[in-house]
Subunit: 547 residues, 2 copies
Amino acid sequence: MRKFAAERSRYLLAHTNDFSSVLQHPTASLYSSSSRSLKSQLLLRFLNTTAAPNPSSSDSMASDYSSAPVKLDSINPKVLECEYAVRGEIVTLAQKLQEELKKNPGSHPFDEILYCNIGNPQSLGQQPITFFREVLALCDHPAILDKAETQGLFSADSIERAFQILDQIPGRATGAYSHSQGIKGLRDTIAAGIEARDGFPADPNDIFLTDGASPAVHMMMQLLIRSKNDGILCPIPQYPLYSASIALHGGTLVPYYLDEATGWGLEISDLKNQLETAKSRGISVRALVVINPGNPTGQVLAENNQQQIVDFCKKEGLVLLADEVYQENIYVPDKQFHSFKKVARSMGYGEKDISLVSFQSVSKGYYGECGKRGGYMEVTGFSPEIREQIYKVASVNLCSNISGQILASLVMNPPKVGDESYESYSAEKDAILSSLARRAKKLEEAFNGLEGVTCNRAEGAMYLFPRIELPKKAIEAAKAVNTAPDAFYARLLLNATGIVVVPGSGFGQVPGTWHFRCTILPQEDRIPAIISRLTEFHKGFMDEFRG
Amino acid sequence: MRKFAAERSRYLLAHTNDFSSVLQHPTASLYSSSSRSLKSQLLLRFLNTTAAPNPSSSDSMASDYSSAPVKLDSINPKVLECEYAVRGEIVTLAQKLQEELKKNPGSHPFDEILYCNIGNPQSLGQQPITFFREVLALCDHPAILDKAETQGLFSADSIERAFQILDQIPGRATGAYSHSQGIKGLRDTIAAGIEARDGFPADPNDIFLTDGASPAVHMMMQLLIRSKNDGILCPIPQYPLYSASIALHGGTLVPYYLDEATGWGLEISDLKNQLETAKSRGISVRALVVINPGNPTGQVLAENNQQQIVDFCKKEGLVLLADEVYQENIYVPDKQFHSFKKVARSMGYGEKDISLVSFQSVSKGYYGECGKRGGYMEVTGFSPEIREQIYKVASVNLCSNISGQILASLVMNPPKVGDESYESYSAEKDAILSSLARRAKKLEEAFNGLEGVTCNRAEGAMYLFPRIELPKKAIEAAKAVNTAPDAFYARLLLNATGIVVVPGSGFGQVPGTWHFRCTILPQEDRIPAIISRLTEFHKGFMDEFRG
């Protein structure tokens, strides 16, 4: 398989300009017209719903807007190009089915929609860490801090922490814009947390707090990309934030393939090939994106592999953009998280030797606080004048939300042994992480038990990315309805079971292979039912389309 | 003056391509070299501090980063072009002075820095509205909702409201990503609030909740701007978010001048001239930005003027981008806020007749919750397929922060007569707004009492934008240190008094005129001292430089 991947990507680099065949659009018009040519009753049932063409309900026809000044062919073409499958058409359809279920219970062969499309743990029942929420509530309404009743409602250390945080905020004003990099005291805490994690110093002035990791990624793309001739090396499969951001900023995604056969391994030789091919086509490659633990692929990089990556970036003059948002999500005893900064510093490379950006988020880990939109990037190895430009871009949006900033500081400095909350915090954290590990294992085994499906183990992150060998007939049926075969599978799965997964074509995959991404996030007691629904569907699907 | 403005802007449109002379850079290197050529001891004292060249402290010289891959000449030139004066160099200098004061009290002729550069009320002591914070705290930590102590700490209606809001959130999960437009139930509330305000229907599917108004503005610019040949009509003076966003998205700012002589009036004839001139130069003008109440200028548009603007946009096929974030900040009895949507609907124009986007924020009004980063845009008059593109761009960042979303719903649906909190809410709100009106009046009178200064009244928003007739000698002195004269004045003001204002050149002004923007936000009991510091400085400045 590795050979195949390298072969294909060389071919693609040589023959395409925008890599569009690598990142096929997941669905086009499955529910458009020709479904009647398929004779299967089963399929007709699967196809009897249509996705709303517009996420905002509207009973108006587009043609009525003929005098509106903005037409599809007059908007920014970069917006048109951008695709973001994890909130794409399959999800829009799922939302429609959910509304139908609400209005007419029993209208579908399932009771509820199970959103396994996105790493959104609390939407599937994961509870927030109590200590974190206590501190947030107290910072939102500091007036209650001195009240007697508060002692009965909140832990002593959450009250103490809230006081500490408020003292770090000028005027204790949690409702004021902060410094555009984030509140200095919180950045001090985060830097101390990074230091404790890595064993190497971290500078609070290197931290830029952001509304989740996504805006930080956009900021770096905005800084680095000047035109279509600027390239960013991205893994395939990749988290589509990267392809979307590169498209929106008008750059070129230069793909390198993760090797499914070796557990989604990252081969330096492939990186080199892709870089050289891109260069030979006039593309100036600016940065390398590495997602570790991997999304959608779930692998955890070995330290020596990370060292090779650091050396590669240093030698080739690339900025290393390290997506490390899953740093707390590791499920196998033989793997550990090492930040790229720790790896680089361990190799003796200092601030001036390598340009490295690490992204972290409060949305992942055991905390899973997606709705709080907290995150940061740690920016090292850039000259003061470049840092000033990053600061300027950050300042245009004034600052990230203060609750998210506070939460980012809590995540990097949770309760310690001896704190009143430590035991409950620790129990909550361990319960979540050990349950996630069990769920990952169970789903992995279930996928591997399905005909024609193989699935690498989820070493980390929140996803499995099984590969399906789709029968020829299924591929033909998908073609007949003008849809990518994996999107066809995902669509039928949704219609039959209510389970929402994202087709591999939304992440990129070796052409001719088909996958889907499924989160490990449904609550543990639901996993057996999900597995049996999946298994039943898959059997029916294969029976329908097997050669 | 109106004539002069039209004359100048015609000249500029005819002679420049990027309008850079309209938006002069506020400061360059005031503290660089030649200050010794100025013989004034006063001036030397004023100039004896230097701004940090880099907001992130760093003792490293840029040259040490010679092997770093990213150089100033290799970043996105749009980032280099972008300027954002309200967090620009003067503010960086102020932060430095603040640190010096902390380390060495008495090191400057003032005790503290007064940040009048930005509409950030809570940073200057404004207290948040209690009801809003109660609800936010309860939604952050719903576990306490059923506890007995909670009844003693929180108002009954805040508890009820928190329950209502939680019921609107799928799974009551305030820690989950929401729908990319925002939680549907909160959008329902906001739409109802808009309806109640305007007397015309509002559709929750038209609402896009965002992290403050800024990301919403960026989203629209990203959609509309394809290249330098796409223009956006913006008022001069303007809030520099607009010039920054247009620069970052690679478009052209087409300026129209507000007429200082008629209280910053908006002349349709000037709009037409600017549009025609831009067209004749091959610029396709896509949208018109109107800020009402005005920023930095503080005027409130008359309804018939708004009608003219609506007709102009309709006739010329322009999207009307209505910045209405100061809709609650009106300080004069003869003016009222009318949303552009209300005005358009009152004229009989429906959804299909005009493309209109209204921006609102939780950062302004009487609430001033800047740090919460809540806001929304109401998007009307766009076809479903364009709406789908806006949704897609919103989905790439998943969703805005949930606390900000909740707060946006509270702001559009505050306590009503009969609710337990109504009286205290109402008292807090009235106290803030009436105090702001008094502060605006006092500062306006003070500015008008200064030699060579004229200042229009602040009808709304949070700013005064006085004009200074700078003596010839001052202009020469500024030139000698390679700085815009208004930035020179602002710099000396800061060094002498600790008061931070933003030079007019950061907002744009009729060439040859000089202004600064000063917020009306310092607490009321501080205003007399501020006025006397300002007055004393101004007298000294004029004595120094008077001809």
